[in-house]
């Protein structure tokens, strides 16, 4: 029995999949804290889908796929924020417009060049078969993002909370947003490998949403989200060994389970706590 539980660790590809997933899960979770507070959850989804043409092009030109993906993600982020600024369209419309366009272009490129890339692995992810080269790319992206976030998380928080005040302490909100979108595109690229383009949105939304229910302090929220992201991702990769199922699907299912638990049992903002508080006030005022 115990032997069976440890079996995955006997395989190099499994241990690699587990820790790479955990790393990616943690970085995405960090970013999710910002995204959900700004009502930009769909932006993560948009970026992940927009990345597809970049990947396809990169394969066609024999460049590292991360470069193509990153460029496409950045174009999408700039396109979305730029259009938002100069038109009166709402955010969701702009996001929908930009990301479907890029996704369509991506599919088109792939269909014209059928051999150029395995679309399946971009859209659904394939962490168990990740190449060493891709591991290096993912680790570099994740480590760099974590380092930048570690240094600038407070400035980003300030910008997201109160742009005007951010200006008065000498920050440039526009620059901070660009930095954030660069990080987000980079992490969307990293997450492609683990959960695939379709499920990246869960990685950059669910952990933050869960942590939000558990605390009233942003710093604590980040730690909680990262823990949730890392643990569920590692667990998803681990369990996929036994179920022989899609890693991405498992990771997201685990994240949702944690979210549901928090939704019901969270000490202050959970449903049970709310009901308890309600009952208490009802008793106090007969």
């Amino acid at each position: 029995m115990i032997d069976l539980l440890f079996e995955p660790f006997g395989y190099n590809y499994m241990t690699k999949a587990i820790w790479v997933s955990a790393l990616v899960g943690a970085v995405c979770a960090f970013l999710s804290c910002y995204l959900i507070l700004k009502g930009w959850a769909l932006m993560g989804d948009a970026l992940a889908h927009s990345v597809v043409p970049g990947v396809a092009l990169a394969y066609m030109l024999a460049l590292p796929y991360a470069i193509g993906a990153f460029a496409a993600g950045f174009v999408a982020a700039l396109g979305i924020t730029g259009l938002r600024r100069i038109t009166r369209l709402r955010e969701d419309a702009v996001i929908g417009l930009v990301f479907t366009t890029l996704f369509a272009v991506g599919l088109l490129i792939v269909s014209i060049n059928p051999t150029s890339v395995n679309v399946q692995s971009i859209i659904l992810g394939n962490i168990l078969a990740i190449s060493d080269e891709d591991v290096t790319q993912v680790v570099i992206i994740a480590a760099a993002s974590l380092a930048i976030l570690g240094f600038r998380w407070k400035d980003l928080m300030l910008t997201f909370f109160d742009e005007s005040h951010a200006r008065t302490v000498g920050l440039d909100p526009w620059r901070m947003y660009i930095m954030f979108f660069v990080l987000l595109s980079a992490c969307a690229v990293a997450a492609l490998q683990t959960v695939g383009a379709v499920l990246v949105v869960a990685m950059v939304v669910t952990p933050g949403a869960t942590a939000y229910l558990l605390t009233d302090r942003f710093g604590v929220m980040i730690w909680l989200a990262m823990t949730i992201g890392a643990v569920t991702s590692a667990l998803g990769a681990y369990v996929s060994y036994f179920l022989d199922g899609a890693t991405g699907g498992l990771i997201v299912v685990f994240q949702t389970l944690v979210f549901l638990a928090a939704f019901v049992f969270a000490p202050k903002h959970g449903r049970l706590a709310a009901r308890r508080a309600g009952r208490k006030t009802a008793e106090a005022t007969p």
Binding site: L37, H165, R167, V169, T215
Partner: protein, 313 residues
């Protein structure tokens, strides 16, 4: 609680007390013939000019859509004038902001009250400009936050999430942040909306004490009645500056009538109706929002009636 609020004005300003080494810059705002427009290209304000110096509380009044918030956004560098120039303490806007010379107290609608930050965290944000780039608070920062919270009477709420406060308490938290920041210039967009009379007069006391300390405050408000109470300068705008100068000479019925047109509730209790003698003096009540402005005297020579607190000068 309120008793505590009412003597806010007595202590020294916390932001600066904590950073005595910082050299004081003499505050000023110099707006020179600016025209500002949004993306649609239509100018929201045209040819606006005024100058404000140290030890001033200036009211910014005008109808909805007259450009008050636009002016604030320009002073905060969110909008760049198409024409003209803004200088803050003799510097371009960006430079002044970089040096932390300006603090901003936002309108309640601008703040995301669901953001997971505690009252203490928000006030600490006022200190970011004083910290190194990792933003790790030192002893001076913590002291400034304590003092600022104490001064607005919000110490006991330090650990509350900001959304759990009442409207007036929320205002005081952001005021405390501006205090902790210790800036020479403070911009306040509608600080009195949703605030009860006691808190309102506490805030006015606080602003007066900051003025006595040499600072410059620009306050947009619809609360015309309280302006003579605490503002020594007034800028009246409607797309452009209609009048500006000392409250006594600028804040007149004629100017206000021009600015507000039919918008203002305007009640005359005229000479003959009011008394059966030849006394031609009359009472005029102008009101845009909660507190009415009361003028009394002969037509065109009406004087401001300052409600109970006459000692603004």
């Amino acid at each position: 609680m309120t008793g505590q609020v009412l003597d806010l004005a007595s202590t020294v300003s916390p932001g600066r007390a904590a950073a005595p080494a910082q050299q004081r810059v003499s505050p000023s705002i110099n707006v020179d013939r600016i025209t500002v427009s949004y993306a649609n290209g239509v100018p929201a304000i045209r040819d606006v000019s005024f100058t404000l110096g140290a030890s001033t509380i200036c009211a910014l009044v005008g109808v909805n859509g007259s450009g008050k918030s636009t002016l604030f956004k320009t002073l905060m560098g969110f909008l760049t004038p198409l024409m003209g120039e803004v200088r803050i303490a003799g510097r371009p806007v960006d430079k002044a902001l970089k040096r932390g010379l300006v603090a901003y107290v936002p309108q309640s609608e601008e703040v995301d009250w669901n953001f997971p930050v505690l009252v203490g965290d928000v006030v600490m944000m006022g200190r970011y400009g004083h910290m190194n780039f990792l933003r790790i608070p030192g002893k001076a920062d913590r002291m400034a936050v304590d003092a600022a919270l104490e001064r607005v009477g919000m110490s006991e709420f330090r650990k509350s999430q900001i959304g759990e406060l009442s409207g007036g308490q929320k205002k005081r938290v952001f005021l405390a942040r501006a205090l902790a920041q210790g800036s020479e210039i403070i911009l306040l967009d509608e600080p009195f909306t949703g605030v009860d009379v006691k808190t309102e007069s506490a805030i006015m006391d606080l602003l007066r004490s900051l003025r006595d300390d040499g600072r410059l405050m620009l306050v947009s408000t619809h609360n015309l009645g309280s302006i003579p109470d605490f503002c020594d300068q007034v800028v009246i705008i409607n797309k452009t500056v209609l009048a500006y100068g000392p409250t006594e000479t600028t804040f007149t019925e004629a100017n206000l009538a021009e600015a507000f047109g039919g918008v203002l509730r305007h009640v005359h209790l005229g000479g003959a109706e009011l008394h059966a003698d030849a006394d031609r003096r009359r009472v005029t009540v102008l009101t845009d929002d909660e507190r009415p402005l009361v003028l009394y005297g002969e037509r065109d020579h009406e004087k401001l009636v300052k409600p109970d607190r006459g000692e603004t000068d």
